[in-house]
Amino acid sequence: MADHRPFVPYPAPVLRTVADPVDGVTDQVRAIWDEMLRAMYAMPGVGLAAPQLGIGLRLAVLDCSDSRDQAIRLANPEILWSSDATNAFDEASPNLPGASASIERPAEVEVRFLDEAGAEQVRKFEGLWATSVQHQIDHLNGRMFFDNLSSLKRQRLLQAQKKRAKKAARG
């Protein structure tokens, strides 16, 4: 048995829908987080949002550590503040394999969320952590990383992706 639900392929509607907040951190929420962490570490990736597994809830997980043991679980995350200063990292998504692009985002963010105990946290993220948490919150608001590109670059990325998919289908 697969130990997590599959990544839903883009453009599944769940990836384009604003996800619903959770009422609180229940055992069911914790079970979803655990499943998301298995999926994230298997990729391997530095973050995952619930809609990527077809779950329309405002849940995300992060781990940008080299040691892969610094997981953060977030429920109902929201960006309270973001810096004017920016960073650019290459971003990609298991929901659209093969596509990637350098995305410029605020270098520092303050994020409020409920942690695994259901307690409210306000936490500062910087570097790759800041990029990953913003990438996940984009998913919770129905956005993909390439929506942050100019329309020209975005179109190019999606066309290249289509070609790749066709080639793969032909074998």
Binding site: K124, N141, G142
Partner: protein
């Protein structure tokens, strides 16, 4: 230290009060406008006009930047929407610390969008606070505050200008009182903490099933930036100013020939709008080139 328009009156007030403003820190020039030319921030431009030395470090965590800041041996640093996090070493460097002007009555509306959130929530009043900066997000002890009522026709733009206007003299008087030891910091109470989350683009689409007062607050709270929007005959249109009016109908329905729109309950009259790629226009001017008949449904 500051970057946008909101911080400019503070800098000017400090200079006019006779303070020796030895340096201004601002965000580096960014590409802006059609030609995408590098443009200095409003504070940067104002500081240069006043003949003040300007530094625009990418990161204040850089050791050389911190050393340069410490070497100034400042009495105080005034921070207004600077746009990056200051490490503890910077907060500790000036004799009187770093003072921050924040556009709300703390602890209400800590965070990025206090002006917009106050209007969107329907608050009857708001204000500005000068706090002693700490590492946490807008958690520092409050030294002084000033209140203003929020009017029924206020937008984030008009309220922003009013708050910037009262904030500037408040910073000057607070600084003087702090230097004389005439002021006691008030630790922010735990009770009443709310957060003014950054405005997400997903929030800006108007949901006509909401009651008229909520729709109206969303429109005014997000005006002029980023601008609440809806689709009119398949075209995306920003709504910049509205007013609550009597009216009943299916949500989103245009009830007359002057952009009276039915909401979940009640109605709103749209008075200033902006089509994509066009300038903002009053409703009557927009309708001349872009008629919207009664019975049309906005989505």
């Amino acid at each position: 230290m500051g970057t946008p328009e909101f911080a400019v009156p503070v800098l000017q007030a400090l200079v006019e009060a006779g303070h020796d403003v030895v340096r201004v820190y601002s965000q580096p020039p960014r590409r802006a406008g059609r030609g995408k030319t590098l443009r200095p921030s409003p504070v940067h431009a104002a500081a240069e006009a006043a003949g003040i030395e300007v530094e625009t470090p990418e990161s204040f965590r850089d050791d050389a930047v911190l050393q340069g800041f410490e070497a100034l041996a400042l009495d105080a640093a005034i921070v207004v929407a600077y746009g990056q996090i200051l490490p503890q070493r910077a907060l500790d460097a000036p004799r009187l610390g770093c003072l921050n002007l924040h556009a709300s009555l703390l602890p209400r509306w800590r965070g990025a969008a206090p002006i917009q959130r106050a209007i969107m929530a329907g608050d009857a009043e708001t204000g500005v606070a000068v706090m002693q900066m700490e590492a946490g997000l807008d958690t520092g002890p409050v030294l002084a505050e000033a209140r203003v009522p929020i009017d029924a026709d206020d937008t984030a733009g008009t309220l922003h200008d009013r708050l910037a206007g009262i904030g500037a003299p408040l910073v000057v008087s607070t600084l003087a009182a702090l230097d004389d030891g005439r002021i006691a910091a008030r630790v922010q109470p735990e009770e009443g903490v709310t957060y003014a989350a950054k405005i997400d683009k997903a929030e800006a689409r108007i949901d006509w099933t909401r009651p008229a007062n909520e729709v109206d607050r969303l429109i005014r709270g997000l005006s002029p930036f980023p601008g609440a929007w809806c689709e009119v005959a398949g075209e995306r249109v920003k709504i910049l100013i509205s007013a609550i009016k009597d009216g009943e109908g299916a949500p989103g329905t245009v009830l007359d020939d002057a952009l009276l729109i039915a909401c979940g309950s009640g109605a709103v009259h749209l008075t200033q709008l902006q089509r994509a790629g066009k300038a903002a226009a009053r409703a009557e001017d927009l309708l001349r080139g872009f008629p919207v008949a009664a019975g049309t449904v906005l989505t």
